[in-house]
Subunit: 659 residues, 2 copies
């Protein structure tokens, strides 16, 4: 029989006519690419075959060119192979028939870990210390991911820095009547101290101040993009301060976002995440006193982000990011990308260094693209990640920074040309609220990281912040609930499990871990359950679906199940006749404790390391499946167990008090 | 080097000397079995080799004879192969060296399902209707397991019956001034109605009344055991009623348990689970009015349970049961098994039918062994499970019935001889409490199953009782908490998920399920997460580690994750550019709904069946992995969604009221 075709519909950017195949297990369509057209990069769960009928095309699979094709050529794509086809002709259509099948019981296995990973968390603006909202998002996330990768023997480094040239630094300096340099210096130091207290070590801390490499990267970037025509001069209308002559941009101006209508700062809206040009803000108002708003025409530098839109569309399609970040990027691409103004007349920032623009500084988010490249050069021991396509570069940031990372920076790297390893993994967090409202310095509605960390062990803070990490959606932090849950888990369940099982071991086995003996079906079921929970916890550390929240959930369940199992079996397995079963119970219990410690290590490194040391596994922290049993006759010293004291609710007042 | 050996210690019932092998990954021991001795059956996680050095032995693996061995023979045992070795000589020792290794990353995979399963739940005593404690334990458990197995195309039947000949029936009849036959008839009917309302269908309902096969099984059992000397006559001292001349046993007498000292009925103690002989109760007191306690010597029939102790020990070692049931069985075996008195002078029960014992009836728990055999003959369509070693027989019961099922009945089946398929799987429940106290008819502290089921859908009751099913330990039922949790899950989360996603489908896709399109990493992570939770839920239905509690936990999480995923992605995947990703979101959502329905089916069959019918999968309920995607263009009718109304808290009074 001849297969009929449905009327054309657009799929993956092509005109496609569904083949009316009378089989439920296979499908197909006839697809047409117009001259020069590129199909939208995608992956799906079926196996697929393309048969080229007419025209000439170029096939890319998972971002790599695999060949040019013509009539009669047949292409096979395995499930989840990301692919895009480009019509190479500028006057002829490319036609092909796609047939796909399978996917009835697909298993989308996680990709193997790369050998080398550069983890960036967005450099914070040194205009204040970090509150819990900052900590819970990019910084703790990046640190947990780094610790996980290092346990797996991946060469992973965590790099961030200080974003001195933000307008917000100058704004706070004006409000505090200090020099902006002094403000930046002070807060940068505070921020670094807070990271240290939170157990977040950095492999490199980037600073624009006094770094030759940083300045060189920026000026070389600007001159190359000017040369290639990717940076152009445009005379445009702009907002400025009649008193100083400086441009009003970013933190210096507020108005209605031209996209969503919400109150927005200059250049980008925190609400919808879209960029603006300041002049397009509705009812703009300066944010500093003594400013007299004016409008003028000025010649400024623009980066032509729009010129690389097709490559960006392909990159976004194959990149790993949250649904919301993807939606923003895809919508901006669909609406047509704006070009981005990258220079402003100001005395705060990196000088543009371009003849005719001596009184202008470079837009700080454009500067950051160079900052990331410079940091890579300085941190990567001579093997830059941006030049190593076998390595992975992962960005951790909050949603309000999404478009910079998914579109602007990649566009700059692409525009520079060459074989750049453009970052493709984005771990994007939403907001942490404090008792139902946004953290706010001005309304004094916040908890400083350093305040909390002064009163409790950093592991408690790390676990509690992981538990409410804003991943798919905004989450809420409540100090009373945090204290209660922390005490229930650490001082209650975890300490109870450690203490009672160590006491039992001391009493029944002289403190020496026995070899596992006879296994009942209940031992096997428990063994499976622990492996199951461990698998779930480990999956939560993968870069796609990264979720410390899920890891804490699985691990809290592991502690509860293990303690319940041990208590039940110990109560009943008494006497000589039960001995061979009971030593299996005890061996399984301490194996489960090692499994817990290894998998909890990225979140609570100190506690986990103490548990491993207690078990004599201090040098075996690597997460490798669920590991083997602990060597028989290992003598455990209960004094080596971590101390897990409850938090007093008295700390609430001290912690909540602002400044 | 010559390996040194440690001083002998007892392991698996043998004298073993550990080999001091200087390797952590392998171990070994030299073992000695005395003449005629059998090692204790066991399984462990290592691979093992035995080298026979001296003597002659017989090896059984997983309950099957695999060969006789002598000096120089080498035996290999894979991980978790259950094994026991018997010294066949009656004057020579059997010596062998065991070497074991591996087990560094063992995975104790669940055993494949058998082809045929006979599920017994203990026949209830018709002296009252069923309260929630009864329902939550054996009956709901057995029904969930049966429904699971049938979904997997296993030929599974659930058999129970009425235990008319319990002394408790006569006792309640005396208290209600009715004939015991009438009492039994009434309550047996009530119980069957309650099961029907709870959605617990039976494949066979066994009754001692008027069943020829039942009587024949019992009399043939008694005569065969008399012939083989396994039933013997003993003249013993007993308690009796001076007014009627009847023996005081079971429910007719109370006193201090000779084992644990708790208040115990005759013949068995509910607290510690051990049998007694009535005469050994401390300070015995009759439980019925008008009884004058006396002691006399009487010739009674005894079953020699002690004679098959070695076989029972081997059976217990390889059987699947809770740690507590195993502990009781192992301790009773270690203490030396008692012989069990199986006849009492009474007018209520099955006549002993043995010359000289015309005025005695058979102990009702001995009778039950015959009842199970008779039920098998009647229910198994000509292929009795007790005669089919390839089939599996599973008992569901509460801990107070443990020793009957783990020792007494197997001993009777073994004593009958032949190739009996002795049941080896026990799903033993603990107690359900009501607001912290035991259910009690006399104190009117209980909730009747029929009362609750009169006011809410049976699925709500089944889910709520599964949630608190007393598995490893006693659990608590609280009606207010039950109402709140039921409403949160069914009327809140599950209905919210169904309604909102169906509304979205109607609005965006005209109600037709789209084919999955492009997959982001987030789609893949969600797909993995659903598969993960489905795997956890399915494992909770396996007979070892059977836990409807765990199944409800995983499935509630599945609903929460799926709704969160759908809501997040729908909020962001808008517009034409996101279309190919969004149809993957929608297809994944309805796939997850089918996964939920299939895996929830054993617990909430009506709700699950309605969801599958809604999805057009009404005939595809079988749990097979996580199934494929729902056929594209399937039109869904929101009117077919199950109605999941909240329970009014008004029902609390009506349900709690005891009449």
């Amino acid at each position: 029989m001849l297969i009929k075709k449905s009327p054309p519909e657009t799929s993956y950017g092509m005109a496609c006519r569904t083949l009316q195949i009378p089989l439920s297990e296979a499908g197909g369509s006839e697809c047409v690419l117009e001259p020069c057209q590129l199909s939208v990069f995608h992956r799906h769960h079926e196996s697929e075959i393309f048969v080229i009928v007419r025209g000439r095309g170029r096939l890319d699979v998972d971002g790599r060119h695999v060949g040019d094709v013509g009539p009669g050529d047949v292409i096979f794509l395995r499930p989840f192979a990301g692919h895009a086809l480009r019509n190479l002709s500028d006057d002829e259509r490319l036609e092909f028939v796609a047939l796909y099948w399978g996917g009835q019981d697909v298993h989308a296995a996680p990709a193997p870990l790369p050998d080398r990973v550069l983890i960036f968390s967005t450099p914070p603006t040194p205009n204040g210390d970090l509150h819990l909202g900052h900590l819970s998002g990019p910084y703790l996330g990046a640190d947990i991911y780094r610790r996980y990768l290092r346990q797996k023997n991946v060469d992973a480094i965590h790099v961030t820095g200080r974003d001195d040239n933000q307008t917000y630094v100058k704004r706070i300096a004006r409000m505090e009547s200090r020099a902006p340099e002094a403000v930046a210096e002070d807060y940068a130091r505070s921020i670094r101290e807070t990271w240290a207290k939170a157990g977040i070590p950095l492999d490199f801390f980037s600073s624009p101040k006094g770094s030759v490499i940083y300045r060189e990267q920026l000026s070389s970037m600007i001159s190359r993009l000017l040369d290639s025509g990717m940076i152009v001069e445009k005379t445009v209308e702009e907002l400025y301060d009649r008193n100083t002559g400086f441009s009003l941009h970013e933190g210096y101006v507020k108005g209605g976002c031209p996209h969503c209508g919400c109150s927005s700062d200059g250049n980008a809206c925190e609400q919808c995440g879209r960029p603006n040009d300041c002049i397009d803000l509705a009812d703009p108002v300066p944010t500093l006193p003594g400013v007299e708003l004016g409008r003028r025409r000025l010649c400024k530098l623009y980066f032509r982000m729009s010129a690389v839109a097709p490559q960006l569309a392909e990159l976004v399609a194959r990149s790993n990011m949250s649904a919301r970040a993807r939606a923003l990027s895809v919508a901006m691409l669909a609406d047509g990308l704006p070009d981005i103004c990258i220079s402003h007349r100001s005395d705060w920032g990196m000088p543009a260094g371009v003849p005719g623009f001596e009184d202008q500084v470079i837009y700080v988010w454009f500067e950051m693209a160079a900052g990331y490249l410079a940091a890579d050069l300085q941190a990567s021991s001579g093997r830059p990640f941006f030049a190593d396509p076998g390595s992975s570069i992962v960005h951790f940031y909050g949603f309000d920074n999404a478009y910079y990372h998914t579109l602007l920076f990649p566009a700059i790297y692409m525009a520079l040309g060459g074989d750049v390893n453009v970052p493709g993994d984005h771990v994007v967090n939403e907001l942490l609220f404090l008792r139902g409202e946004k953290f706010s310095t001005s309304r004094r509605h916040l908890i400083w990281g350093r305040k909390l960390l002064a009163h409790i062990p950093s592991d408690y803070a790390r676990w509690g912040l992981s538990r409410v990490r804003p991943e798919l959606r905004n989450e809420d932090f409540d100090l009373d609930r945090f204290i209660e849950q922390t005490n229930t888990f650490f001082a209650g369940r975890l300490a109870g499990w450690l203490t009672s099982t160590l006491a039992h071991l001391a009493q029944q086995y002289g403190g020496m871990i026995p070899e596992p003996g006879a296994w009942s079906q209940q031992h096997m079921a428990f063994h499976q359950e622990v492996r199951y929970l461990a698998e779930g916890a480990e999956r939560a550390y993968q870069v796609s679906g990264f979720s410390p929240q899920a890891a804490t959930r699985r691990l809290e369940e592991l502690v509860e199940r293990a303690h319940e199992f041990f208590a039940t079996h110990c109560r009943h397995e008494t006497g000589a006749a039960a001995k061979d079963h009971h030593r299996t119970t005890v061996a399984l219990n301490f194996w489960a404790m090692a499994v817990f410690a290894r998998l909890a290590m990225p979140i609570v490194p100190e506690t986990a390391q103490r548990i491993l040391a207690l078990l004599g596994l201090g040098d075996q922290a690597g997460i490798d499946g669920t590991g083997g049993f602990i060597q028989r006759d290992r003598q455990l010293d209960p004094a080596m167990a971590p101390s897990l004291p409850p938090i007093s609710s008295d700390i609430a007042e001290a912690v909540s008090c602002v400044d």
